[in-house]
Every structure is written in C-alpha cells, then in structure tokens.
Amino acid sequence: MGEGVLEARDVTRTYTSGEVQVQALRGVDVAFEQGEFAVLLGPSGSGKSTLLNILGGLDTPTTGTVRYRDHVLSGASEAALTRYRREHVGFVFQVYNLVPSLTALENVALVADISEHAMPPEEALERVGLSGRADHCPSQLSGGEQQRVAPARALVKRPDLLLCDEPTGALGTTVVVITHNQAISQMADRVLTFSDGRVVGEQRNAFPRPPSDIRW
C-alpha cells in the first residue's frame, strides 16, 4: 500500500466495556490519498466505525500509528486532536447529533464560528437544499431534513477530510464513508471491505457512479 495523506499502520483498538474486553481492530493498515472517495464496507461489529473514529481523531488506537499529513494522531494530546478535528475534519454522524436548542442555520454556524475558512452557513444549507428551513429547530424538522443538516454542518468548514456514514458527491475532499450498504460502494473510488477488525479486501472502481445512477 502506498503512502497517502491519511494512513493507519498496524492499528489495534481494544475496548474495555464494563468487565468485558473487546478487540475492535486487530491490526489495520490503510492509507487514503488526496481527493480520494473511499468506502469502508462491512457488517455491523466489523470495526469500521472504530477505524473511522480513530481516523477522525475522535478516538485513539491502542497500538499502531495514525498520521494525517504531518500530524501524528496516535499518541497526540487531547488538545492536538481537538485542533486536528477543528481544522481538518468534517463529520457526518450516523445519528444526526444536532444541538436541539439551535436552529438548522445555527447548528451549521456552530462549526463555522470556529473554522478559519468556513463558507457562509447559509450557503452550506443551500447546498443541501435546506435554505427554506434555516430558522427551524431540529424538533421542527423532519427526519430527512435533520439528516441533511448534518452534511451541511460537516461541509461548512470546507474540511480536508470528510468522514461520514452516508454517500455524497465528489467534493475535492478526501471522503471516507463507512457503510454496510453495498449500493454506496458504487460511488467510491475505492472500497475497503472490513471483517472482524481487519481489512479483508480492497477493490478499486475504475468508474465511480454518480448517486443518480445508483439503484438504492
């Protein structure tokens, strides 16, 4: 595997949940290139969320190294990881995770406020087709609308790296999507298959398909 902007080397992650120890990652080697759209595909519990969290600086590996460009994330301080997330990473979480007391626009502005090169929050909302619902709080939005605020919030900061659960169009950004939905993998430049805490397969799509061409 060649060198990428984001890479994980021999990464393991063991959780202690109560009295049980769970080894979620058992030695992952993976690298992502600039502008690549990658999909991590695998069944529930295969460790893909864990890897995504580690790549996004939301979690730290038990062993192994993780690097984004010249940032070594494994072993980085909490403050350094926070800065990494703030400056480089956009997240779209599986659950929408909106702040209930803020409107759709304010939820997006929340991120724009702390980003240096953010686009106007209105523009981000427009890109997901929610301009008309900008002043509505999450409780006033439908499930689908809430789901669309999440990518707007992730994109508003113009992140270098977008980590999400759902497919999106090519943005000139390195995108890592985790999913168990095979259809999404058709959009990716590359599909990494996960099983039992390991990358068990890798497939390159010579011709990634746009979302409109995919049968969901």
């Binding site: 939301l58 926070t82 703030r86 997240f91 979480f93 995770n97 702040v99 007391s101 803020l102 406020d113």
Partner: protein
C-alpha cells in the same frame, strides 16, 4: 452572537424550571448566612457604637453613702480618665392598671456641666425636671406609659407622684435584672432617671453619692483600677467595684450576643452545607444529561476549556437568580430581624450591617459547590474521547464488593436488592447523602429545640428547684415572727426561710461577687439537684454547695477550697471548702447550711433552722413557726446589714390568700419591727417570678405604701417578693 452563546442562553431558558429549584436552595443557604451573621454583627456593632456614644463606664462601684469629695479623690487615682458620681436606689413604682408592683432602679442624672458616664439617650419626650421622671423605654412601653403619664414611686420610704417627662435608654440598662428575678422582666423591673435633687432628699444623700462610675484609660488594667476604687470606698460602705464585664445588663447582652454569634456560625453553616451538597448534585445531574452534546461539540472541534467555560457559564446562569435573591433576602432579613431584636436590645439605634464578606463567602461555598458539580459533570463528559462519550454510557459495574452484600439476605425481593446495590455501589456518595439528610434533619430539630430547651429550663427551675408559689425577700433581716405571720395566713401550706449574705468568692479560676444562701435543713420548696440528679442539700458540717456553672467560673471542683469575703460588714477573707456541686440550670449560686453561715458570717439574721412546728423538719403549715428564723438579735440593725431572709409560701387556696395578702404589708412590716429585724417602711418591695399553675390568677398587691408589696397568686401560682437593698444581686 456566536452560535455557542445562543445555545447558552437558550439552554438556560429551557432549564428555567430546574433553575427555580436550584435558586431556592441557593437562596436559602445564602440568605441564612447573610441574615444570621449580619444580624449578629449588626447587633454587636450597634452595641459597641451605643456603648461608645453613651460612655459606658468601665467600672461601677456602689457605696452606702460617700461624700462627693470622695469622687474627686477617686478622680485623682491613677488610670482613670473620667469619674461620675450618682445616686442609685431601687424604687417601687405603682403602674396604673397593673396589679403587681414594678421595681425600677432610680438613677440620678448628671447636673449641667458634669461629665456623665452611662449617659441616657432620650428616645421620646424630654429630660425630667423636678417632680418628673424619665422612664426606661422597655418597661414604659410594656406598660404603655408615655410622656405626660403619671406614676407613683416609693423612694426611700417616701411615696411621690411623678410625671413622666420622657422615655430613654442607657448602656447599663439595656436589660434590667431586679433582685430575686431570675430573668429580665420588663413588666416588673426596669430603670428610671431623675434629677439629682429629686433623689437626694428621700434617700438622704445630700452632697453624697451611692454609685461611682469610672472610665479607665486605654491600656490600664480594669481590675487594678477596681481594686484601688474598692480600697478608697471601703470606709464609705463600699459593696465592691464591678468591672463592666460583671455589669448585669452588659453580661446579659454579652451572653445573648454570644449565643447569637454561635447560632450565626452553626445554623447558616448547616444551611449552606445542605445547599452546597444539593447544588453540587443537582447541577452535576442536570449537566450529566448534556453528556452527548458535550461529546458532539468536542467532536466538532470545540476544546475542553471552551466547553468547561460554556457549561460553567450555564451553571452560573442557573444559579444567578438564587444568588441575587439570597443576598437580597438576607439583607432584608437582617433589617426584619433587627426590628424584632429592637424589642429586646434597647440600644439607641440598630444599624444593619451586611458584610460583603458574608455574601461572598456564602456564594463562594454554595454557588461554588454548584459550579463544582458542573465542572465535575463536564469534566467527566470531556475526559473520555468523543467517540466513547457520544455512545450511551457503559452500564455501571455491579457484582463486586459491597454490592454483593444484599445477596446474603435471601429473602430480599428484587426491588430491595436493586435499591441496596445502588446504595452500596458508591458508598461515598451514599454516605454524603446520609450526611446531607442528617444536616437537613438537624435544621428541623434546631428550629424546634429552642422552645423545647426553654420548656426544659422552666420545668427544671419551677418544678424541681424553685417550687414555691410566693417568695418574699426582705430588705433587711427579718425574724421568725415574720415567718409566723406568713404561716398564719389562710391557705398557706408551708413556709421556709433562707438567709442570703452578699459575698465575694475567690477561687483558683477567678472570683465572683454574689451571695451565699443559707438554706434550712429539710427544705422542700427550694432544692438543688446534684450531679447524680438527686438533691444536693448543703451539708450540716460545713462547706458550700456551688452550682456547677459557678464552680467552673471559680475553677474549683467538689472537695476544693475557696476564699469567701463578706461584701458588707466584716470583710475578713476566710477559707471555705466546696462540699458539693449542684446542677441548677439557671444562674450561679452558692449554698450552705445555716450553721455554716453563722460560723462564716456571724449572727446576722441568725442561722435558719426548722422551727418546732407541727411537721418538724422543714415544717409544714398550718402550724405556726415552721422554717423558723430566730428573731434577729434584738433590733441590732447593724449586725444584720446585708442579710436577707426569703420566705416562701405555698398557696392552698389562692383566692383567700389574695384577700389576706392585701393586709400583708402592714402585718409583716409590723412583725418585722416587733422582732427587731429592721424591716422598715419602704424597705421591701416585690418581684414576681411567674411559674406554673397560675390557675385562678388573681394577683394581689398590698401595702405598697406601707413598704411591702406582695403578689400572691391563686392555687399553685408562684410569687416572689424581693428586697430593695442588701440583696445579693
């Protein structure tokens, strides 16, 4: 406004409901602290200011009679900065519409140009002229006497009609303790001021004084000055010089303020502790619900410091109303409480003094605890990586250690098991909860304990220790005939006599100016409970029985030795042993057997011994001459100076006793003279000690003009007559 700030305000608004509860808790903690400490401080400062403005004397010395030139000699003593001679005497005052006699301590006002100490502050009306009197505010207001009213006073045996010119207060008369009254009682004891000329004649003190007030220079030793004064005044019938710390009014005020200060430390601390505990817990739990939002914000790139600031600000907003309300309520309570205390502390003014320090301290503790809770909660949410924090929390660990304890009790149903495991999983938190609940319980108990304690004191005092219905104290020693007269009244069941000798006691730990009371053997109306709860009668073979409080003051215990020095007559100091201790709840007292008194102090009114009455022992009525005091030695008044005999009467049929009492003054006064006990018109006055069982009411007063007033009550009521002079107070 930044989105995070918007979130802050909206979250605060959303949490308005819990914020009300938090504010109530915080306001309670803060207001209790501010109010109680502020009240205590306000009273202390008001007292100090009042004392300073009115030039409260450092030392006061009473004499029988000393020419004014002696005051000039005193002024020349080293260490004194001001000297003020005055005339003081207890007077009996008839208040229209009030059945009992009222004892007022009359004091002369300084003449124009004289340096007055214990200056009087006129609160209403004007200073008195000839034929006028300035009444102490407390008793005047109690009796609704205003300037322009008229009262009759018996002063030195002369009954005078006086017009009330005004009401006033003075530093030595914030509380007035009349002889034989255990507590200040505005209805029956007080103070009044008259022009010197109004007192000189009746008291035969022209060009003389009976009390010398002294101010001591800074850095001077008060006790040393008092000693010099005593030496100077001894040959003028000096009864000892009393430092301010021993002045009854000051001591009472001081004791009250000290109690308040203790309460002001303890009660708010409990309130504050409970408030702090609750705030910490409630805020922590409230923000605990924001765990996932904290993790989300962190995931989005907000640093820990920003989040901690954000949530501390949120907690601060939730606590702010309580802090403001608590401080405001505390300050308002200080004013309200001072309004109440103004009825008890007759300073010229009560100035509220709310210290920023109290507000700050209470806020720091209570709000600080709340913020600590917030901090702990946010810290917990930010301590784990956001990936974990965004997941539902890991189920708490059970199955170890204490949590398995309930398993041993097989009969426990699952609900109980669950409850026990939850309690035992975090024993520290459970212990704190128990502590919090205990403190909350203590608060409830505290609010009720004052009344309970007072009830207990009254019960111990009037059912166990002082069981008489009427007590009569004579100005000068009375002979047994006085007892006989009292015993002969219809309805009187029992009469017992006592003799009190004013003394100074010296012990290893200090000295005490008071009286030794000789109590007859077999006395049943007055008893002193010993340390084991049983009666501790004074031993017949010598020695004193001290109340434990007095023993502590003198630094002596049972078996120890004291020096006793009579404060009138022969002042030679003698050694006396402490035979035992009693546990009276009120006051300091020293008791001895009549024979001991005779050995120590000579004849005087003579040892009190049971008469040859029908019942023997203490003597029980209706037989005459029980609890008999032998006739004083043939009218040799000088020998009896300072002696006192108290007679107690147990009323059987109060109504009749009341009628009989109407003639009491004349009768007993006559007996007193007949017995040569030196009972003279005007020399006796009365004080009442209210007690249990006053059913039937009917109080009688008689013979005020003749010199004796007696308050007799219906069945079971307690009445006490006190002496005007020569009393142990």
């Amino acid at each position: 406004m930044r989105a995070l700030d918007l979130k802050l305000w909206r979250d605060a608004r959303r949490l308005a409901g819990p914020a009300v509860a938090l504010s109530a808790i915080l306001a309670c903690g803060v207001s209790a602290q501010v109010a109680l400490r502020g009240t205590a401080r306000s009273l202390e400062r008001s007292r100090d200011d009042f004392y300073a403005r009115t030039r409260f004397a450092d030392v006061a010395a009473e004499v029988v009679r000393a020419p004014l030139s002696v005051a000039a000699q005193a002024a020349a003593l080293p260490g004194l900065t001001a000297v003020a001679p005055r005339i003081t005497a207890w007077a009996l005052v008839e208040v229209p519409g009030f059945a009992d006699p009222v004892r007022l301590r009359a004091a002369s006002l300084p003449e124009a140009g004289e340096a007055g100490l214990d200056a009087v502050v006129v609160r209403e009306g004007t200073l008195p002229g000839r034929g006028e009197v300035l009444l102490g505010e407390a008793s005047a207001r109690r009796h609704r006497l205003s300037p322009g009213a008229t009262v009759h006073a018996v002063l030195g045996g002369v009954r005078e009609r006086l017009r009330v010119s005004g009401l006033g207060t003075a530093p030595d008369a914030v509380y007035v303790l009349a002889p034989a009254l255990p507590f200040p009682d505005d209805a029956r004891a007080g103070v009044m001021w008259l022009p010197r000329a109004s007192l000189e004649g009746p008291l035969q003190l022209q060009g003389a004084f009976s009390e010398l007030l002294v101010q001591v220079g800074p850095g001077e030793r008060v006790q040393e000055v008092a000693r010099r004064l005593e030496a100077l005044l001894e040959r003028h019938g000096g009864a000892g010089a009393r430092a301010r710390s021993e002045q009854p009014s000051h001591r009472f005020v001081d004791e009250e303020l000290r109690q308040l200060a203790v309460q002001a430390r303890f009660v708010p601390a409990v309130f504050l502790g409970v408030a702090a505990f609750l705030l910490r817990d409630v805020v922590a739990r409230l923000l605990g619900t924001q765990r996932e939002t904290v993790a989300l914000l962190k995931a989005l790139g907000f640093g820990r410091a920003v989040l901690v600031r954000h949530y501390l600000a949120l907690a601060g907003l939730l606590l702010l109303p309580g802090a403001v309300a608590g401080a405001a309520a505390g300050a308002a309570l200080v004013r309200a409480l001072l309004g109440v205390y103004a009825l008890y502390f007759r300073f010229d003014r009560l100035v509220p003094d709310v210290a920023a320090g109290d507000v700050g301290l209470s806020l720091a503790v209570a709000a600080g605890a709340g913020l600590l809770g917030a901090w702990a909660s946010v810290r917990q949410a930010t301590a784990i990586p956001p990936a974990g924090a965004m997941q539902p929390p890991v189920p708490p660990a059970y199955g170890h250690g204490l949590t398995r304890l309930p398993d041993r009790f097989k009969g426990l149903f699952p609900g109980a098991r669950m409850a026990w495991r939850t309690l035992l999983r975090r024993p520290g938190r459970t212990a704190l909860s128990v502590l919090g609940l205990s403190l909350a319980g203590a608060l409830l108990a505290l609010s009720g304990i004052a009344w309970e304690a007072l009830g207990w004191v009254l019960e111990r005092t009037f059912q166990d220790a002082a069981r008489e219905d009427v007590s009569v104290t004579f100005a000068e020693p009375a002979g047994h005939a006085a007892l006989d007269v009292l015993a002969s009244w219809e309805g009187v069941e029992r009469v017992e006599g006592e003799r009190a000798v004013p003394v100074r006691l010296w012990g290893p730990g200090g000295r005490w100016d008071g009286a030794v009371t000789a109590r007859p053997e077999g006395a049943r109306l007055r008893r002193s409970p010993g340390e084991d709860g049983r009666e501790q009668p004074p031993p017949q073979d010598g020695g004193l029985v001290l109340t434990d409080a007095l023993a502590r003051k003198l630094g002596v215990s049972a078996g120890g030795q004291l020096w006793v020095e009579r404060r009138d007559g022969d002042r030679r100091a003698q050694a006396v042993s402490v035979a035992g201790l009693s546990t009276e709840v009120v006051g300091l007292a020293a008791l001895c057997a009549p024979l001991t008194a005779r050995e120590l102090f000579g004849g005087g009114a003579g040892p009190v011994r049971p008469g040859a009455g029908a019942a023997g022992g203490g003597g029980v009525l209706p037989a005459r001459g029980v609890g008999r005091v032998p006739a004083a030695d043939g009218g040799q008044h000088a020998d009896h100076a300072g002696g006192a005999v108290a007679v107690r009467v147990r009323s059987g049929r109060g109504g009749r006793l009341q009628r009989r009492a109407r003639g009491a003054g004349r009768a007993v006064a006559g007996v007193g003279h007949a017995a040569g006990a030196g009972l003279h018109a005007g020399g006796v006055c009365a004080a009442a000690a209210g007690g249990p069982g006053g059913a039937g009411g009917g109080l009688a007063r008689a013979g005020v003009g003749a010199g004796l007033a007696l308050r007799a009550a219906a069945d079971g009521a307690v009445v006490q007559l006190g002496a005007c002079s020569g009393c142990p107070w």
